[in-house]
C-alpha cells in the first residue's frame, strides 16, 4: 500500500528483475549447448591456449587435463598419489579428476559424451572399450603405441585390439581368471587340492565331495538334501566367472573371430552346457537364483559358502580380507585338453575430441602409467590387478603375499582370451544369459536354450553391424 512513487519504483524494479531472469535463463540454456568448447579454451593461463601447432614447442604450454576414473574406497588415495607425482614430473599439466562409483561413472560418461563435455581421458572397463570405440568416441591409439611402447614388454595390449588390428586403449591393469579353492574346506572333506592337470570332470567329482547341506551331509551321501545347501562346491556367475571359461575349454564359444556372427548353436556348447546344467541340477554349482540369496554375486566364496570359484585377480582382495585359508591354480582343461582363461583389460582410453596439447598430455599420462616401474609397483601394491608391465608382474613384489600361487595368474596368459567383447557386448550377454539361465534353472532343455540364444544374439549383432 505504498505511495505512487513507491509503486512506480517497484514497477521498474519488476521489469528489470524480469529481464534479468530471462537473460540468466538464456545464458543457462546457451551454456549447456556449448560448454565443452568453452571450458577447453577458458582455463589455460597462457594466452596461446588451444593452439595445436604450439604443442611441440620446447616451452611446454600449460594444459588442464580432465581425467575420469571410477572410484573405489580401496584405490582412490593411491590414484591421487600417482596423479600428484605425475604433476610434479609434468609441471605444465594440471590434472582435474572426475570420478564416481562404477555404475554412475559410466552413466554420467554417456551423457557427458552426448553433451561434448566428456573427460579428455578416462579409465574404461575392458568390456566397454569397443562400445565407445566402435561408436566413434575414442582416439585410435595404434600409431602412438607403435611409436612409444614395446608390445612385448606388456600384458594385454592385444586384448584391446579390434578385428581390424587397431588399438583403442592401453591396459591400466589386467584381470585374468584362475581357480580359487578354500583349503580348509578341502581338508575338512579330505579332498586333494586341485592341480594344474584337473579336467572339468575332476572338478565336478571334487565338488560333489565338497557340497554340503545344512545338516552337514555331503552330496555323496544318499541322505543329502539339495534344497538346503549350506556350502556349494563351485560358485558360478554369468560370463567371466561362469560359463565362458567352460564353453571355450569344451571347444565352443559365442562369437566368431569377426565378433559379428554367433556360433552359439554348436555341439561343443551343448556338451559344455550339459556339464553345467548337471552340476546345477545337483546343486554342486550355484544356480542364478541361488546367487540372489547372497549379498552379491561375488559373495559365496569369501563368505565361506563355496569351496571353489572361477575368479579374476581382483577377487583376491575379498578373499584376503575374509582371511580365508585359500590358494589358486590354473583353470581346469576341457575334454580335449583345451584350456581357456578369460581376460579383462581395464584400460586408459583417450577422447577423440582431445586434440593437440590435450591429446599429448593424455598420452603422457598413459606412458607414465604403463612404462614407469614405480607407478606399476605402487598400483600393484593395492592388489587390484595384475600389473601391465611384464617385468613388474614377474617381480617378487607382485608374486609375494597371498595367495601363495600367484604365478598361476601369469601362467594363465598362455591360454588367455577376451570375452568376445564388441560394441554390443552387454546386450548380447544379457540375451545369452536370459536364455541359458532358463536351462540352468531346469525350465527348458539345453538345445532349446541354445537355439533361442543363437537367434536372439544374432539379432542384436545384426542390428548394430548391418546398419
Amino acid at each position: 500500500m505504498g505511495g505512487h512513487a513507491m509503486k512506480g519504483k517497484l514497477k521498474s524494479w519488476g521489469t528489470l528483475l524480469l529481464s534479468l531472469t530471462l537473460v540468466t535463463a538464456m545464458l543457462l540454456t546457451a551454456c549447456s549447448g556449448g560448454n565443452g568448447g568453452k571450458s577447453n579454451g577458458g582455463n589455460a593461463e597462457s594466452p596461446g591456449a588451444g593452439g595445436d601447432d604450439k604443442g611441440k614447442a620446447e616451452q611446454a604450454e600449460k594444459v588442464e587435463l580432465r581425467l575420469g576414473f571410477y572410484s573405489s574406497a580401496q584405490s582412490d588415495d593411491k590414484m591421487q598419489e600417482l596423479i600428484d607425482k605425475f604433476q610434479v614430473k609434468h609441471p605444465n599439466i594440471t590434472i582435474k579428476t572426475e570420478s564416481s562409483p562404477y555404475n554412475q561413472f559410466f552413466q554420467k560418461l554417456d551423457t557427458q559424451i552426448a553433451a561434448e563435455s566428456a573427460p579428455d581421458l578416462w579409465l574404461s572397463d575392458g568390456v566397454l572399450v569397443p562400445k565407445y570405440a566402435e561408436r566413434g568416441v575414442l582416439k585410435d591409439l595404434t600409431p602412438l603405441i607403435e611409436q612409444d611402447l614395446n608390445k612385448d614388454d606388456y600384458f594385454g595390449l592385444d586384448f584391446n585390439k579390434d578385428a581390424n588390428g587397431k588399438y583403442w586403449g592401453v591396459p591400466q591393469g589386467i584381470q585374468i581368471a584362475v581357480l580359487y579353492y578354500n583349503k580348509d574346506m578341502f581338508d575338512e572333506a579330505k579332498v586333494e587340492y586341485p592341480t594344474a592337470d584337473w579336467t572339468w570332470d575332476d572338478l565336478k567329482s571334487a565338488a560333489e565331495k565338497l557340497t554340503k547341506d545344512s545338516t552337514g551331509k555331503f552330496a555323496t551321501d544318499p541322505a543329502f538334501d539339495k534344497n538346503k545347501i549350506s556350502q556349494y562346491g563351485l560358485t558360478f556367475f554369468s560370463i567371466t566367472e561362469g560359463w565362458m571359461t567352460v564353453l571355450k575349454s569344451f571347444g565352443g564359444g559365442v562369437l566368431d573371430e569377426t565378433l559379428t556372427k554367433s556360433v552359439i548353436n554348436s555341439p561343443e556348447n551343448k556338451k559344455a552346457l550339459d556339464w553345467i546344467v548337471d552340476g546345477m541340477n545337483r546343486e554342486l554349482l550355484t544356480t542364478p537364483s541361488d546367487l540372489k540369496s547372497f549379498q552379491s554375486n561375488m559373495a559365496p566364496f569369501p563368505s565361506k559358502a563355496a569351496a571353489m570359484r572361477i575368479g579374476i585377480y581382483a577377487r583376491t582382495i575379498d578373499a584376503n580380507a575374509a582371511e580365508l585359508n585359500y590358494d589358486v591354480t590354473i583353470l581346469p582343461k576341457g575334454p580335449e585338453g583345451k584350456r581357456f582363461s578369460p581376460v579383462i583389460a581395464n584400460s586408459w582410453v583417450i577422447n577423440k575430441k582431445a586434440e593437440g596439447a590435450k591429446g599429448d598430455a593424455a598420452w603422457e599420462w598413459i606412458k607414465y602409467w604403463a612404462t614407469e616401474d614405480e607407478v606399476q609397483k605402487e598400483w600393484a601394491s593395492l592388489g587390484e590387478a595384475v600389473p601391465v608391465k611384464k617385468s613388474v608382474a614377474n617381480s617378487s613384489e607382485f608374486l609375494s603375499g597371498k595367495p601363495e600361487n600367484k604365478q598361476a595368474f601369469l601362467d594363465s596368459f598362455e591360454f588367455a582370451g577376451t570375452l568376445d567383447v564388441n560394441a554390443v557386448w552387454s546386450e548380447w550377454v544379457g540375451k545369452f544369459n536370459d536364455n541359458i539361465n532358463r536351462a540352468f534353472e531346469g525350465e527348458v532343455p539345453v538345445d532349446e536354450a541354445l537355439k533361442k540364444a543363437d537367434t536372439e544374439v544374432q539379432q542384436v549383432l545384426d542390428e548394430f553391424y548391418k546398419k
Binding site: L10, L22, L28, S426, E427, N433
Partner: protein
C-alpha cells in the same frame, strides 16, 4: 528458449495492458515458467523427436520415422513388459484402495491410541525402498529368510519367493501395498472428515447398522476421494520403477532387474535398460510415448466412467 517465454506475453496481454499485479504475478511465475519450458516441455519435445530417430546418446540422432514404433509392436519383450505392468496394476490398485479404505474407516475414531496406529501405518511410506529391500530380504531370502524357516516348521516346502517367476509379482504387490497403504489411508481419512456426522445420525435413528452405514453413506460420500486415489495409484503403478529395480537386484546388476527371467520386467525397467544400458535412446523414448498414450487413455476412461459412480458434495 527465451523467445518462447516472450511468446507467452501477448496472450496474457489481451486486456491491452498488464496491470501492475499482473506484472508481479508474471515475475513470480517466471522461474517456474523458465524451468517448465527448458526442463519439462523441452525434454518432452526432445524425447518425442528421439522416438522417431535412431539415437545412441553418443552420436547425434538420425531420423528413422516410425521404425522404433514398428519394432516395439513386434517385440515380444515389450508385450511381456506391458502385460507384467498391467498384471501388477490389476493386483495392486484395487487391493491397496480397498485395504486403505477399510483401514481409514477403522482408524477414523476419536480415540487417542489410534494416532499411534495411524503413525505405525505411515512409517513404511517414509522409508526408502533400499531399506525395505533389506527388511524383506530378511523375510524372503530363500536361504536364511524367516518365511522359509516358518514354512519348514509347518512341514511345507521352502519357496524361492522373489526368485520364483510365478510368485515375484504378487509378492512385490504385497510389499508395495504394505508400503503405500499409509499414504492412501491419509487421503481417505481426509475424505472421511468431510462426511457430515448428521447423515450417520439420521441413518442410526432409522436403524442402519455399521455395514449399511458404510455401504450406503461412507462409500458414496467419499467416492470423489476414491476416484482421485484410483487415478493417482494407476498412474504411479504404471510408472513403478524403483521398487522393482531395487528388489530384483538392479543395484547389483542393471540387466538382472525385472527378474527372474523378465518375470517382473515392467515397462519402466524395460525402458531404462534399453535406453541407458543398451544405448537405444530412440527406442526407449518410443516406449515412453506409448506408455504416455496408454496412461492418457486409461485416465480418459476413468474420467468418463466416474459419472456413473462418483458423487460430488
Amino acid at each position: 528458449m527465451s523467445k518462447r517465454t516472450g511468446g507467452d506475453l501477448p496472450a496474457i496481454k489481451r486486456k491491452k495492458r498488464l496491470d501492475s499485479d499482473g506484472k508481479w504475478g508474471l515475475l513470480m511465475v517466471t522461474p517456474y515458467l523458465v524451468h517448465f519450458i527448458v526442463f519439462v516441455l523441452g525434454s518432452l519435445l526432445a524425447s518425442l523427436y528421439f522416438s522417431f530417430s535412431d539415437y545412441d546418446i553418443l552420436n547425434p540422432p538420425k531420423w528413422t520415422g516410425l521404425d522404433n514404433y514398428a519394432k516395439l509392436f513386434n517385440e515380444s519383450v515389450f508385450w511381456k513388459a506391458l502385460w507384467n505392468t498391467v498384471y501388477f496394476t490389476i493386483l495392486f490398485v484395487p487391493l491397496q484402495t480397498i485395504l486403505a479404505l477399510i483401514l481409514a474407516v477403522a482408524l477414523n475414531q476419536k480415540l487417542r491410541v489410534l494416532k499411534l496406529f495411524r503413525l505405525a501405518h505411515f512409517l513404511p511410506v517414509i522409508s526408502s525402498w533400499t531399506v525395505i529391500m533389506y527388511v524383506s530380504d530378511a523375510i524372503f531370502n530363500p536361504r536364511f529368510g524367516f518365511a522359509n524357516a516358518f514354512l519348514i516348521k509347518l512341514g511345507l516346502d521352502p519357496q524361492k519367493w522373489l526368485q520364483d517367476a510365478h510368485l515375484v509379482i504378487p509378492l512385490l504387490v504385497m510389499i508395495a501395498v504394505w508400503k503405500g497403504i499409509g499414504y492412501i489411508m491419509v487421503i481417505f481419512l481426509a475424505g472421511l472428515q468431510n462426511v457430515p456426522s448428521d447423515v450417520y445420525e439420521a441413518a442410526e435413528i432409522d436403524g442402519a447398522g455399521t455395514l449399511r452405514k458404510f455401504r450406503h453413506i461412507t462409500v458414496p460420500l467419499i467416492s470423489g476421494t476414491t476416484f482421485l486415489v484410483l487415478i493417482l495409484s494407476t498412474i504411479s503403478t504404471f510408472q513403478a520403477f524403483e521398487q522393482i529395480y531395487v528388489m530384483t537386484g538392479g543395484a547389483m546388476d542393471a540387466s538382472s532387474a525385472g527378474g527372474p527371467n523378465k518375470a517382473s520386467l515392467v515397462l519402466m525397467i524395460y525402458l531404462y535398460q534399453e535406453g541407458f544400458s543398451f544405448l537405444r535412446m530412440g527406442y526407449a523414448s518410443a516406449i515412453a510415448w506409448v506408455l504416455f498414450v496408454i496412461l492418457f487413455l486409461l485416465t480418459v476412461v476413468q474420467v468418463v466412467l466416474q459419472k456413473k459412480w462418483v458423487h460430488y458434495e
